[in-house]
Amino acid sequence: MATPTLEKAGTAAQDASPYITVTFRIRRFNPEVSAEATWQDFEVEIDPKERVLDGLHKIKWDLDGTLTFRRSCAHGICGSDAMRINGRNRLACKTLIKDINPAKPITVEPIKGLTVLKDLVVDMEPFFQAYRDVMPFLITKGNEPTRERLQSAEDRERFDDTTKCILCAACTSSCPVFWNDGQYFGPAAIVNAHRFIFDSRDEAGEQRLEILNDKDGVWRCRTTFNCTDACPRGIEVTKAIQEVKRALITRRF
């Protein structure tokens, strides 16, 4: 049986301490204290196999309890801890220290385009409002069947990618169009519209397309692919947006 790589790492770790010293450079903001945001550096002893979230916890728990950020599941499922790490949107719990060059200070900032409330915490309400505006729920007509609705495996596969969304806002807050104009629905809302437009059971695709045909809808997308790069779930966000655009032109979906 093959030996997992971690075991090798574990053997090496017995000889030397796995811990290294890393500088976290964090954007701090607390309007109760000051109207200005500032950068603050913290030095942390950390195993490079640990997550950025572990580093933030070490700071909060051992150095400065006022450091404020959202987190919950700590393994990339709940979507609480999207933040800008070294200039890129990521989940702090899915980013390992070793993968982001710990030799240099690791910069951590709140995601952009949403109002910062304190440190890394932003106002999520505009983001969720855009999501709610695309009618993100199954709409059907006629009588319900007694058993389940039938759907072929192929039809189910058609929208599989966009069902993975965890509403973390990493995509929307990486979009230059969204930064400049908060009225734009943003990638996440379009992804969630896509999830229903291409679901063979749904009968309100036309309505959703009309919503996204709006001046703040899909046509604002400039296909910069920032959203696709940012998605921690690996969703092909830009492709989904393009498919919605195409559906608007062809009215076939």
Binding site: M1, P4, G10, E32, H75, F128, T163
Partner: protein, 584 residues
């Protein structure tokens, strides 16, 4: 302080809370208070599926499911409740499909099903395909689908509101629920919610363990709020250790991996579960598999330089099957361990996963003040509650089922009650306890640190009340917890502000964990037998004569204000199944 009035208030917005909200909102003026945003709840971390005897892919029926649930719970299950769970499972899955849940499909277009631990054909003959699933993100899809339907129904949410106290008023000698007190994270403001009915759906309490699949936020807030107001907690000694957590991290790797054909192996590459469970093998119930893993480790057959884990081997499964059925957990292995599951086995160890015990309820979700008295206006559903459908050990896929069946039941029952009932008068100074607690912590100059106390708590729980327990280890934990509770009085926080003060909330959460850890350890000490998830090496057998009964733990406060735990017991409801020796 602000006062709000609603017919129905729901505490928590995971699966149970939102399933209840969909029902309650249609029938009554409802508010949902949640310490997170709804889609952040830990229901979203559930992976493998939701059990229901749909019989879409092979013969099955709900009676077999009932039996498996009772046997899985080592006969501590209330059998009337298990029957409801299994019977209503079928509609619960179909309801979710109609709400839009994208289940995986069979070639015929019906909902696909797969094998899961402890679920069997004809009372244990062989594994059965009963788990309805959406890849390995079934919980994510349930959480999203329920949130989508809450948006559709216009459910009113109060996001990032922490419920810290349960208000109870005695009317003509009857304790009634009057509402709850919540702390608003964004502003630090305290809110009183007067409600005719309150439903707790605030989830589990796994964060008192170190190696756990639970989110940081699972700190037993609902259990603690009720317990502090004199309501009992049932069967708290029963905690499930899921066999396959990522080594040292505890991140869950679904049992569905074994349902798809994954195999557990020791350092010799041996499929050791064949020794312990000849029929169900790797798909025996979770308590059995977790004990088997630790037995292998203790007897020197663990893997790695420290021999402290075993392997989950998926390498014989086709990569296409892993991509289609287990995409998330294989990605976890790549992200967190740097391992390619196509070619390398994954190091795993049991991880603290699920509280079988909780706030006692009847099958309508009504909370009990003792063995049979209902607290009018108070309900609970999901992991926070103990119905008890899980008994001494929950079967995999029965929790996603539980939240849907009993979330729905509690939502309907609470709303039907609240539209008819009158408001119960609030106690005098309803926010007093919370205001005092918040001010004391914010102003404390004590020298103890939250993170240090929590770490010591988690270490003692892992060391002493995990998969194997003895009188001595449990006593060690009880003593340590008492010391930590004492030191907690001297805890202080650095953040003194009002805005998003998560430092303060972590301190409050630690207080909840300490209270519940004590209940757990004291309940475990008194149960001198082994049953399901509670294994006593000094009492290795099940003792139906003395312990076929539920533990009921009450907080008692003496004249000096000092608290202690009083244990009582409640009979198990048995209908058609006589206890038998449990073999897999």
């Amino acid at each position: 302080m602000k006062i709000h009035k609603y017919d129905t208030v729901i505490v928590g917005a995971g699966g149970a809370g939102m399933r209840a909200a969909i029902e309650a909102t249609k029938r009554s003026r409802t508010a949902v208070l949640t310490k997170l945003y709804p889609t952040r709840s830990h229901t979203g971390a559930a992976q493998g599926g939701m059990a229901a005897a749909l019989a879409n892919v092979e013969e099955d029926n709900w009676e077999w499911h009932t039996f498996d649930t009772i046997k899985g719970g080592d006969y501590l299950v209330d059998q009337d409740a298990a029957e409801i769970l299994a019977k209503e499972a079928i509609d619960a899955v179909l309801d979710l499909e109609k709400m839009g849940l994208p289940f995986n499909r069979t070639p015929d277009g019906t909902i696909d099903q797969r094998r899961f631990g402890g679920h069997s054909r004809n009372h244990g003959e062989a594994p059965v395909r009963r788990s309805c699933y959406a890849a390995d993100r079934t919980g994510h899809m349930i959480l999203q689908t329920l949130y989508q339907n809450c948006v559709k129904e216009g459910v009113e949410f109060f996001n990032e509101f922490y419920v810290l106290d349960q208000l109870i008023t005695e009317v003509d000698g009857v304790k009634k629920s009057a509402g709850v007190v919540a702390y608003e994270l964004a502003t630090g403001e305290i809110h009183v919610f007067q409600a005719k009915a309150v439903i707790y759906a605030s989830g589990g309490t796994g964060k008192f363990f170190k190696v756990t699949s639970n989110a940081h936020t699972l700190t037993g807030d609902g259990q603690a709020a009720c317990y502090r107001r004199g309501l009992p907690l049932e069967d708290m000694e029963f905690f499930q250790f899921h066999p396959t957590g990522i080594w040292r991290m505890g991140i869950l790797l679904t049992e569905g991996a074994r349902g798809e054909g994954g195999i557990l192996r020791n350092k010799d590459g041996e499929r050791f579960m064949e020794k312990y469970a000849p029929v169900m093998k790797d798909l025996a119930s979770r308590d059995v598999v977790s004990r088997s893993i630790y037995t292998e480790i203790r007897e020197g057959r663990g893997c790695g330089p420290e021999g402290d884990h075993v392997y989950l081997d998926l390498t014989h499964l086709p990569p296409e099957q892993l991509d289609a059925k287990l995409p998330d957990i294989t990605e976890f292995a790549r992200t967190y361990l740097g391992i390619e599951p196509y070619t390398d086995p994954i190091p795993i160890q049991p991880t603290a996963h699920y509280a079988m015990g909780g706030i006692p309820t009847n099958v309508e979700g009504e909370v009990l003040a003792d063995n049979d008295t209902v607290v009018p206006g108070l309900y609970a559903a999901g992991e926070v509650a103990c119905v008890s459908v899980h008994g001494a050990n929950r079967l995999g896929t029965n929790s996603l089922l539980d939240i849907n069946v009993f979330g729905r039941r509690a939502g309907i029952a609470a709303a039907e009650y609240s539209v008819k009932a009158d408001y119960v008068e609030l106690p005098e100074n309803p926010a007093q306890l919370v205001a005092d607690q918040v001010e004391r912590l914010r102003n404390s100059t004590g020298t103890e640190r939250v993170a240090e106390l929590r770490k010591e708590l988690q270490e003692t729980m892992d060391a002493n009340v995990m998969v194997f327990r003895t009188e001595q280890t449990i006593k060690t934990a009880v003593e340590k917890i008492a010391e930590l509770r004492e030191r907690y009085q001297n805890v202080s926080v650095q953040d003194k502000g009002k805005r998003f003060n998560t430092d303060l909330l972590e301190a409050i959460e630690l207080g909840n964990l300490l209270d519940l850890a004590e209940v757990m350890a004291v309940s475990a000490l008194a149960r001198k037998e082994s049953r399901g998830g509670h294994y006593r090496e000094d009492y290795p057998n099940r003792d139906d004569v003395n312990f076929m009964r539920h533990t009921m733990a009450y907080r008692e406060v003496d004249a000096d204000g000092k608290d202690s735990i009083r244990l009582d017991y409640k009979p198990v409801v048995q209908t058609r199944y006589q206890p038998m020796e449990r073999k897999y």
